[in-house]
Symmetry: C2
DNA sequence: GTTAACGTTTACGTAAACGTCAATGTGGGT
DNA sequence: ACCCACATTGACGTTTACGTAAACGTTAAC
């Protein structure tokens, strides 16, 4: 099978595959500090190349960083994100390992779908609030769209 | 207008509206410890009645607790949840206040919808993993559904 | 040649959200 | 009268995810 080993939502322009990034550059792009990126490395989430003492980030590293950040936005702990990222790396040769991967993936998807139910419920509630407030403003002859 | 002041996703059986709950009872129901519930109170998120020194929780308190927990599952900080809960309580008499409420509500909904995009993207990725692993197992003549 | 902008490691500090005692009170059953 | 389950208020400890400062090296600009 041999699938992409590095996660990527939408391949980030195939010709930038060779680019390398400095820590400050990635920090800016993902709105974090260099400290944060080094911290992720301490936790084993990314392993950039080194040129002497300096870190050099590949397109793959960049993708992992994006993935980590998205995981965080979804409320996962770094340890959980670590495990999830590992799912892309695990040995897929044995049938038992494939089954285990399938099991974990399904379990995670179930988590995510539960989260989506929570999310949709909150969205519905606040849309309801909006509708009521808009109606009330209209009824008072005020334009809901002006500040 | 005068809408329900207490949030509730699906009114929790209208005749249990009078029930009162002990801290341990709510702790069990929401899978937290009493300590956690007291902590929420310290943070001003719930204000149960007291019978002497003991806390008595109403159906409204229970609903708030559920709301808090859902907010946490969605990755919001308690301080944010506090603000959001306040949106149900704020004075809706003035037009300016209605506008402000509308603004905040829309902003929050935008947050939630961004989160849903992240969520859907991750779900899609893992479903893709599942599909690939299932295909690989089938091709090897193994049943993906057996353990 | 020094200032500036970037990089490094080491180490201590911090905010959030509780956990974990300890000491104490209270109400019900036997 | 005694035990047990449950309640209370402090107060200190813990985990996670970094922030912040110190002390230092490297490259480029002026």
């Amino acid at each position: 099978m041999s699938v992409a080993v590095t996660p990527s939502a939408k391949s980030p322009a195939p010709r930038d595959t060779q680019r390398i990034y400095s820590i400050a550059e990635l920090a800016r792009e993902f709105a974090v500090t260099p400290r944060t990126i080094r911290f992720y490395e301490d936790e084993g989430l990314i392993k950039p190349r080194r040129q002497g003492t300096q870190r050099l980030y590949s397109a793959g590293d960049r993708a992992r960083l994006g993935w980590i950040r998205r995981g965080q936005r979804l409320g996962f702990k770094l340890a959980e994100i670590h495990e999830l990222l590992d799912l892309y790396q695990v040995d897929r040769t044995g049938v038992q390992q494939l089954r285990e991967l399938l099991r974990r993936s399904r379990s995670h998807v179930a988590d995510l779908e539960a989260k989506r139910r929570d999310l949709d419920a909150q969205i519905a509630e606040f849309k309801e609030v909006e509708a009521q407030v808009e109606a009330e403003l209209k009824q008072r002859g005020a334009d809901p769209e002006s500040d």
